[in-house]
């Protein structure tokens, strides 16, 4: 019970963080038709920017400045890199973002070194929010939830209630028509790419200190975000939301569930003479491959993804 509730809360926090990443990725994909393989690198850069800025002027300014800076970096990448690669077709475009993801890791190592940097939760946000039975739930996790839900609401309002949001929606569904109406679609692309990068940056700001800020953080979260997008259905924001929470919660539960088939057999009173490796694998050990296994299952049984519209 206690394990269940705490895991659920932790899982939702993690899931929301995944959604902050997958939503930006989805937005960029549906708008520009390209998948940004460097999206997780933007998340990492956001964390490093936040680390640097909070070391200089504190966490709260960093919460706003780091995503902003990330947005500018994203816009520059789109304007001077992606747009050029686009002329050569989808493969160079994908390869550009893929190569960028490698380069960002190297840049981060050049500037901040290979070790973990000391990016901490600010004192004003450390401490315990509440205690459930005997496990405490930290204030910072609550803060993370608040920021991600706040971002979600802001994104929703932006897309449905503002003029620029309507243009973005129009450009999403019919870029040719939006351009015919006199909207500068390339500039909107830059804006959307920058916005997506800023979202990833924000996720980095609040995720970097909750977990660890190190050069490997992009590689550890990147593939999972892709899995989220495939499982949810390519191009579907709703699907990305459901899949983010699903994977976030599932993985959190699995990490905390340290039992193997052997333990199960033992608790059922079965004593085995030999114990093959597969029997001794605990659920915890299986947690890292769960998202991929889920992706494979989805591809076999529901190739569109959970809520995907397009079949391809």
């Amino acid at each position: 019970m206690e394990f269940g509730l705490i895991s659920l809360l932790n899982g939702v926090t993690y899931g929301l963080l995944l959604f902050m990443l997958s939503s930006g990725l989805t937005l960029i994909f549906s708008m520009m038709g390209i998948l940004n393989f460097a999206h997780a690198s933007f998340y990492m850069l956001g964390a490093y920017f936040a680390y640097q800025i909070s070391a200089l002027i504190g966490f709260w300014p960093a919460l706003f400045l780091a995503p902003l800076l990330m947005g500018v970096v994203g816009a520059l990448v789109e304007r001077y890199g992606l747009r050029k690669a686009h002329k050569f077709g989808p493969v160079p475009e994908l390869l550009f973002t893929f190569g960028l993801s490698f380069l960002v890791v190297e840049i981060v190592q050049l500037i901040w070194g290979k070790a973990v940097v000391d990016y901490r939760v600010p004192p004003s946000l450390s401490g315990t929010l509440f205690t459930l039975f005997s496990t405490s739930f930290p204030v910072y996790k609550g803060f993370m939830m608040m920021v991600s839900v706040g971002m979600l609401v802001a994104l929703y309002v932006l897309l449905t209630r503002t003029r620029i949001g309507l243009i973005i929606q129009a450009a999403l569904s019919r870029p040719d028509m939006a351009q015919a109406l006199g909207h500068n679609v390339p500039r909107i692309f830059t804006l959307v790419f920058g916005g997506g990068a800023a979202l990833a940056g924000l996720a980095g700001v609040i995720g970097g200190n909750a977990f660890v800020t190190e050069p490997g953080m992009a590689a550890s979260v990147g593939p999972i975000v892709f899995v989220v997008v495939v499982v949810g259905g390519l191009g579907s924001l709703g699907g990305a939301f459901v899949a983010s929470l699903l994977i976030g919660i599932l993985q959190t539960f699995m990490v905390g569930f340290d039992y193997s088939l052997l333990d199960l057999a033992r608790s059922l009173g079965i004593h085995l003479q030999s114990s093959p490796a597969l029997m001794r694998l605990s659920v915890t050990q299986l947690a890292p491959i769960m998202p991929y296994a889920l992706m494979v299952a989805i591809l076999i049984f529901r190739p569109r993804g959970l809520m995907g519209a397009r079949e391809s």
């Binding site: 520009m32 038709g33 998948l35 393989f37 890199g81 747009r83 050029k84 690669a85 686009h86 002329k87 050569f88 077709g89 989808p90 493969v91 160079p92 994908l94 390869l95 550009f96 893929f98 190569g99 960028l100 490698f102 380069l103 890791v105 190297e106 840049i107 190592q109 050049l110 500037i111 901040w112 070194g113 450009a171 870029p175 040719d176 351009q179 679609v185 390339p186 692309f189 590689a219 593939p223 892709f226 899995v227 997008v229 495939v230 390519l234 490796a277 694998l281 050990q285 299986l286 890292p288 491959i289 998202p291 991929y292 296994a293 992706m295 494979v296 591809l299 076999i300 190739p303 391809s312």
Partner: protein, 438 residues
Amino acid sequence: MSAPSRMAGRTLLGPIVRGVSQAWAGWVAWAAVIVVVVAAPLFINKSFFLSLLCRIGLMTIFALSYNMLLGQTGLLSFGHAVYYGLGAFATMHVLNAVHGGIPITLLPLAGGAGALLFGVVFGYVTTRKAGTTFAMISLGLGEMVASSSLMFPHFFGGEGGISGNRVTGKGWFGINFGTQLQMYYLIAAWTAVCIAATWSLTQTPLGRMANAVRDNPERVEFVGYSPQWIRYLMVVLSGFFAGIAGGLTALQYEIVTAEVLSDYTSGIVILMAFVGGVGSFSGPIIGAVLITILQVAVASVTPAWPFYFGLFFLIMVLYAPGGIASIVAEHRAVWRAHLLSRLLPSYLLAALPVTLLVAGIIAMVEMAYATVNAVERGTAELHILGVPLDGAAALSWVEAAASIAAGLFLLSLAGKKVSQGWQDVSAVLRAVAVETGP
């Protein structure tokens, strides 16, 4: 740049795949290559060079197998290390299990067969989709296999990997592959076989239909073929060749660790194929040779080599998406039309700014590296080709920045000259084509 064109692009590889002609000159070149390969150890019989040449051979096979997907079928895979790595592990297990029961010469086939089996299973999942989704799924599967490697230490040997001994007996006529020289000839022979086999494959009905799938998968369905089945077969066959490369890797190094399955391995094969040029058959070979040599050469002088590789890759993607093979092919056409003299002046003009730019970037990167590691190094000072630099001194950074800025500015001027020259030359080439055309 208009929005519709952004959304278009049904032909995945558009301008990358520009026919590089495989004329009779090719045969002469191949014959020369064979002579060089056979004779090479006579001149540089040092184990360092031999093992470098061996690595080139392995990587050639690996890169060619990759290009069966990207260049020939239009499938962008980010997880090709899966087949290479599993081939390596399979070979090592067979080597340790049979104790010489199978001749070492044939052992890479075990890697090929193992990878082929995995291709039959994984390919079924990945090829359910094409295009961008295929790329994502291949990445996901690659990660899955890489993270499984730590979960099944019995098969993957955990952190330490698994090792074996390729010398299993006296062998025929004393050929037991105990020496690097014997291993070199084994790898050279397998490389030749694999080049011939992958080339032959491009000349078969399946190979040609794979090209058709790359160009226009929809139309393929209306001439009676299943694009999905073609992709599947190509993934399986490409896995086979990647597995052979992995098998040779296992024999060459006599140890296999989880690194062969990593995203880094998948990345390096993309780098080789793309830099060499995916639009022609020989492109990936050029890439494998060049990148492997660069890897050794650059890594020996700077620990920041992955940065330079990443930057080099991005520049190639943005400015030469056809790779070296297409640069060579274009210049050969210009050379044949006796027009090279129109390009050379602008090239010479561009050489100075490029040097400034490169020097500035190298200085900055090396200073950054020296500064970050100043504690271990004891100093942030360094020398590049005799030029003293200090990562702790503002002046050095200003100098480097000035060099980059000047380089960029002058390059923007020289760049105009170069593109002007190319416009002239291609106009003439087109006119010639019309005159001598049908």
